[in-house]
Subunit: 223 residues, 2 copies
DNA sequence: AATATAGATTAGACGTATCTAAATCATTGC
DNA sequence: GCAATGATTTAGATACGTCTAATCTATATT
C-alpha cells in the first residue's frame, strides 16, 4: 500500500481533528488549507481505498487501516520532532515545520533507530503523545490552563500549538513542559491570567492559556 | 526558486553524469529510469527556467544557477549519508536509499546542524566528496583498483557504487574506505584481481575493482 | 412546514510528470 | 553521398491533486 504524501496528510488530519472520530469536509479543508472541493475529491479516493468511510454530507471517519496509517505518520512526526530537539538542538518552536516534511520520507529503519536512540520516548517536545509502534497513544491531560482557578498550582504538560510566536513567548518567560505555575489571578475583563513562575509574575492571554494543558499540582509529577 | 523534487533529481543527474559537463537525453533517462521522452520534456522546462542549456539533439549542460542547485542537493545527499552512518549507525550499504529520499526535504537549518555535528566532513561513507556550502568539491582520486599493477600497494579511497550486494561483499571481507590492499596478482583470463588485505587473500572481480578508487601507497595517508 | 443559510458535492478546468507511438535528426558505414 | 541506425523530439494520452463556479443537501429559524 503506497500512499501519496497528500493522502497521508489527509489521513493524519482526520485523525487529529478528533470530533469523536468524525471529521467534516470543512474541518479538513481548514486544516490542510485546501478548498472543500479538493477535500471531497480526495475523500472519495480514500473511501475507495477503504481507508476512510464517507457518508455524503455527514462526514468522514477513519477505517482501521486508515487509522493505522495515520498513527504511523503521527508517530513519525512526533519522533522526528523529539529527535530534532534532543539530538540536533532545535528549539521547540523550530521542530514542527521540519517534521512536517520529513515525516513522509523516513523509512521504518530510521524510525526505529531514532526511537531507540531517544529511549523510546512517549511525548514530543510539545508534550504531545507519540503513538507506539502498535498504535497505542500514551495518556494526556485535557485540563486547560485557561480553566484553572486562582490560587491553584499546575504543571505544564502540553502546549498544543505550533504557532512559533506563542512558543517563543513561553520560552522567553522560561516556561516549558514540566514548568510549575501558580495562578495569581484571573483577569476576565482583559481576558488574561496572571501566573507566578519561578518568582516571576507573568501575564498570559486566555488565548495562549487555552493551548496550555496542565496537571493540577498535587506534590508528585509524571515523568 | 521553488523546484519540484523531480526537477532537483534531473539537475543532480546531469551534474553526476560528468561527460565534461554535457549529458545526453539517454544518459539522464537511464539514470533516472524514465523514458527519453520524459527527459526531453523536463529538459525543456528546466531550459525555460534557465537552469540548463539545451541544444536540440546535442545534449544539455547546467547553467551556473542549475549547477548551484544540483550541488546543494548533492551536498544534502552526502551529508545525510554521512550522518546516517556516523550518528545513527547505518551501514554504508544502507545509507543511499534513505538519503535519496531525504535530500529533497531537509532545510538549510538541518543541513547546517548535521554538518557541524559531523565536523564539516569532506567525504561521505563511500568516499565521495561532499560539496561545500559554496559549491567547492573536495579532491578525489580517479585511479581505479582495476588498473593497479601486481605488487603495488594501494589505499581504498572511494567506492563509486550504490549496489548493496557489492558493498556488503566488501564489508564481508573487511574492506572499507582507508583499507590498504596489496595486489597479489592480476588474473586477466578470469577477469579478476587477487589482493591481500590484513593477511587474507581475496579475489575481486574486475567489475568490482573498477568501482574502487585508490591512492598508490607511498607511506603517507590522506585523512 | 417553508425557507434561509451553511456546508458539501459536482462539473469542468489547469499544471505537473509521466508514458507510448510516431516522426525527425545526426552519424557512421559503405 | 546516401542509406541505415540509433538517439532525440513531438504528439497525444493518462493520473494526480488542485482550483473556481455552480448546484445540491441538511438543518435551523420562524
Amino acid at each position: 500500500m503506497n500512499l501519496s504524501q497528500n493522502m497521508q496528510d489527509y489521513l493524519k488530519a482526520i485523525l487529529l481533528i478528533g470530533r469523536d472520530g468524525t471529521a467534516s469536509t470543512s474541518d479538513i479543508a481548514a486544516r490542510l488549507e485546501v478548498s472543500p472541493a479538493s477535500v471531497t475529491s480526495m475523500i472519495k479516493k480514500l473511501d475507495e481505498l477503504k481507508l476512510v468511510k464517507h457518508e455524503s454530507y455527514r462526514g468522514v471517519t477513519l477505517t482501521h487501516a486508515g487509522r493505522k496509517i495515520a498513527l504511523e505518520i503521527l508517530r513519525h512526526h512526533r519522533l522526528i520532532e523529539t529527535y530534532l530537539s534532543e539530538a540536533l538542538g532545535y528549539g521547540w518552536d523550530q521542530v514542527h515545520e521540519e517534521a512536517e516534511r520529513l515525516e513522509h520520507h523516513i523509512s521504518e529503519e530510521f524510525e526505529d533507530r531514532i526511537s531507540k536512540i531517544l529511549g523510546d520516548p512517549q511525548y514530543d517536545p510539545h508534550g504531545d503523545p507519540i503513538p507506539s509502534k502498535d498504535g497505542r497513544i500514551p495518556p494526556t491531560t485535557s485540563e486547560r490552563l485557561a480553566d484553572a482557578e486562582r490560587e491553584e498550582s499546575v504543571i505544564v504538560r502540553r502546549v498544543s500549538s505550533h504557532d512559533n510566536t506563542m512558543l517563543r513567548l513561553l520560552t522567553h518567560h522560561g516556561i516549558g513542559i514540566g514548568s510549575t505555575l501558580r495562578i495569581v489571578s484571573r483577569n476576565e475583563d482583559v481576558r488574561s491570567i496572571t501566573v507566578r513562575h519561578q518568582r516571576k509574575i507573568i501575564d498570559l492571554s486566555i488565548d495562549i492559556c487555552s493551548h496550555i494543558f496542565v496537571d493540577r499540582y498535587v506534590g508528585t509529577t509524571r515523568q
